[in-house]
Structure formats: C-alpha cells, structure tokens
Subunit: 181 residues, 2 copies
C-alpha cells in the first residue's frame, strides 16, 4: 500500500479450467486486502483478464503479471519471502517478526496450488501456517494480509475507479465515481 | 468453539461441477477457523464428503449438513444472522457489536454464491462487507471469523484426529495421533 514497502503475491501452479476461479480469487483477494501486485503462472491469462477488469472498474493501483519463471522470482527476490503452507510455523507466532521485516523491505508472499516442491520451502525466509489444518489458499492469504497490515488495508483508498460501493445496512448501492476536479 | 455459543456457516447456492471447489473451501475454512458447523445446499454432496473426510483425518468436532431449505434456516434462526456481502457495512465498524451479540447467542454466517436475493439482506441482523470490493467469499469468511474470534480460533485443539501437522520452519512433519490413554 501507499508509503510502505511493496507486497507482491505470487501464485504457484495453475491448471487452466480447473484452477481458474481459485487463481482469480487469489488475485482479487491480494488486491482487495492491500497487496500491490500479483504474479500468476503464464497459463493463467484468463484470471489476469478478470483481475484487470475488476481493477479498471473498482480502482487501483494494482498490477497483475504473468510469469513463466516464478521460482526464479522467489530465488532472486530482494526482500523478505513468506511461503504460506499448512506445514509452516504458526502465523500468530511469527507475524510480529514478519511485520517488522516488511517495515524495512519488500515482501513476497508465495501461495501454492498443487504440491509445492522443497526448494520453495528452503527459499522462504518464513514458512507460515494460517492454522496447521487443510483449508484454502485464499483463506490463508486473506488472514495473513489482514494480520500483516493490522487491518489498515480495510481503510485503503482506491484511485481511478469508475464505480464504488457505498456501505449499507440493507441492500446495494453503487455509485459512479466522477472525474477529479 | 468450546464453551461459547455456536457459529454455523450457511452457503447459499451451488452449481455442481463449477462450484465444487469454492463450496468445499467455504466448508474447510469454516472448520479450520473456528465455526462449529456448515450447512451446504443439498446438491453439494461431493463437497460434504470432502469436508467430512478432512474432519475424520484432522479432527473435530465439526458438522457438515446438506439442506434444501436454507432460506427457512435463515428466517427461523434463533440467534444472530450475519450476511457477508461486498455491499454491507464495513466489518471494522460493526465487528464489536457482532462479537457482543455472539457472546449471548448462536451466530449464523451467510455466505452467498450466485446473486443473493433481497430477502436475505432483510433477514440478516447485519450485512457485512470485508472490504466493499469484489474478491472472494472464502477470503471474506476467513477474515470475518478471525476477527469474530479475535484470533482465539488459531489456538483451537482438535478432538479425535488421526493425524496432526507439527508446525515447522522448513519442510513437512505429520504425526499419527495415538489413542487416548
């Protein structure tokens, strides 16, 4: 987010068709909950398109990239690497250290899909479990980002949106966003 | 969780095939993050089976039910009803009130899939947005539960598990859980 080191989410593995929605949800969750950028596998063009479309309509800044070399991205990352996995250390035990590290340098959050190979565990500065239970990479990412930003991401303001939702007790209210004066 | 009013998650809408993984992830997220029970549409038997299998292996208590009358469940709920929707009030504004309500009585958390009809908005005590941005019902549920329980769900203990994951800095460690003495 604005005025702090960047947060990039990288999604490992994508089976077109089968993983389309999960990959799209990883990207939309990254955007909505304060990350600056998501890097998807190079066969996830359809997810990229959906996430870009949402960013065009609801605002940014948020980048969506495709990459064929995500392991190189992880290996060569200049900053901190966190790998979310149910086998990792408990998020409640390591979140303060990770927050401190992110205050100083860019953070890469690795989200797996299929089986993640051992070199990813080794390349990570932290392997982190949002519970050590099997659930959902989208849920794990969401809780991790909310804790990383300590809830600040919920107050984020969006630039260049075409429309915005007005929070309401009941029903739906969506307003067009006018040009800046 | 133990010693407090129950939390039930109800998933509205399910298209077999297309929604299988999302519905399964809703259920697994509910289980991992402290809910007591999930109620799925009656055509979501495959998701039910997966969630039950995980509960058998990794522990409970956690109930997975199918129901053909989820709107009646919502309408007749004896307790508090929260509907998660990007059109709702901001979670950071209403979470304290909801936490207080849950201290007194059972909570039903409604998670939509396709378009949610207006009567659900009206039946809810709170319509709540985890951001007013489009992202993922799984992510919204995860952040909501983590905030509802104030992180206590991460320390939950599991009963009758066959195996458990030991948190590790690197790699994977899974142990069989022995019979109780």
């Amino acid at each position: 987010m604005h005025d702090e080191p960047s947060v990039t989410v990288v999604r490992l593995g994508h089976r077109p068709g089968r993983d389309e929605r999960m990959t799209t949800h990883v990207g939309l969750t990254a955007r909505a909950l304060g990350a600056d950028r998501v890097v998807l596998p190079d066969n996830a063009g359809q997810s990229q398109e959906t996430i870009r479309d949402i960013t065009d309509r609801f605002g940014g800044p948020f980048e969506v990239e495709l990459s064929g070399s995500q392991k190189a991205l992880i290996r060569n990352w200049e900053g901190t690497v966190v790998h979310l996995t149910m086998y990792g250390e408990r998020v409640q035990d390591v979140e303060t250290e990770i927050r401190d590290a992110h205050a100083d340098e860019p953070l890469l959050v690795v989200v797996g899909a299929e089986k993640v190979s051992f070199d990813v565990y080794e390349a990570a500065d932290w392997n982190v479990g949002v519970t050590n239970q099997p659930h959902s990479e989208v849920a794990g990412l969401a809780v991790f980002l909310d804790r990383l930003f300590d809830g600040r991401e919920l107050d984020r303001e969006w630039e260049d949106a075409q429309q915005r939702v007005i929070p309401k007790e009941t029903g739906k209210q969506v307003e067009p966003v006018g040009e800046k004066e």
